[in-house]
Symmetry: C2
Subunit: 130 residues, 2 copies
DNA sequence: CTTGACCTTCCAGTCACTGGAACCTTTATA
DNA sequence: TATAAAGGTTCCAGTGACTGGAAGGTCAAG
């Protein structure tokens, strides 16, 4: 399988796949013409990576998860720890976004949105301390 | 006021303030020794920027908002449009994060987290299509 | 034999800073 | 007065996870 095939199969852009090789997440074989050759295991790893990235895991987390995936002696607690940590980070991100959202929604609601210059949004932004 | 003073006053790192000058958001005067000199208007602008960034506005949005802030002929609808657009983006971000969170929480819950290798998290990540 | 669809590498850009080096200026202290 | 500490300056490189584009090699079809 060439990079285009695997790209279609996994839904990952070819650029991304090359990048993953660059940073050592995968090491596909090479054909005599220099083309990358992807086998079953590469396909599996890429699918794994794609799914982990979808769940928001950072690349370094993906690296750790992939290592655990390939280590049949792993403890599930190690995997769980990575996931829990990520879950906490997602929660804090959501929290911060919801704070922003609340303030912003208030401001948007209070702004007439007409041709006049008077604007509570700008008023809020320009006040010294929140 | 030197950069250190304004940094303490606004809570923005000196590095950030220099960066804001670099990209043309502010243009503080210069002393004969080359030091930046910050006046009231600079202080106001920086406070404005700090607050807008806190609300998650992108730098280019900040630039637009600052321009509107300084344009006394502005229409509040222009401000509102920027804010609404940002609000929509925050909402979509929150939505995506909540989806991740839901899946991840399920997986974490289903994982024993002990010394055994069996792990539903890895199982999920390795399955071909979600 | 050429066209077009592949593939390759390498370099630069994204976003909003942040760290660090190398150096200059001002202020406080011995 | 010498010096050291605490400020200031510029410039370059790195962050994360790609993405775009240039310049060029390879392969199958007509």
């Amino acid at each position: 399988m060439n990079i285009g095939d695997i790209s279609r199969q996994t839904g990952l852009p070819a650029k991304t796949i090359r990048y993953y090789e660059d940073i050592g997440l995968i090491s596909p074989a090479r054909d005599t013409n220099g083309y990358r050759v992807f086998r079953e295991t590469d396909a599996h790893k890429l699918a794994f990576l794609g799914r982990a990235r979808e769940l928001g895991f950072a690349i370094e987390d993906c690296r750790r998860l992939l290592a655990l995936y390939e280590d049949t002696e792993r403890a599930s607690s190690d995997v769980k720890a990575v996931a829990q940590d990520h879950l906490r980070q997602i929660d804090s991100k959501i929290g911060r976004l919801q704070e922003m959202r609340a303030t912003l929604a208030e401001l948007v609601k209070s702004c007439a949105g007409d041709e006049r210059p008077d604007c509570p949004i700008l008023k809020d932004l320009s006040k010294s301390q929140a």
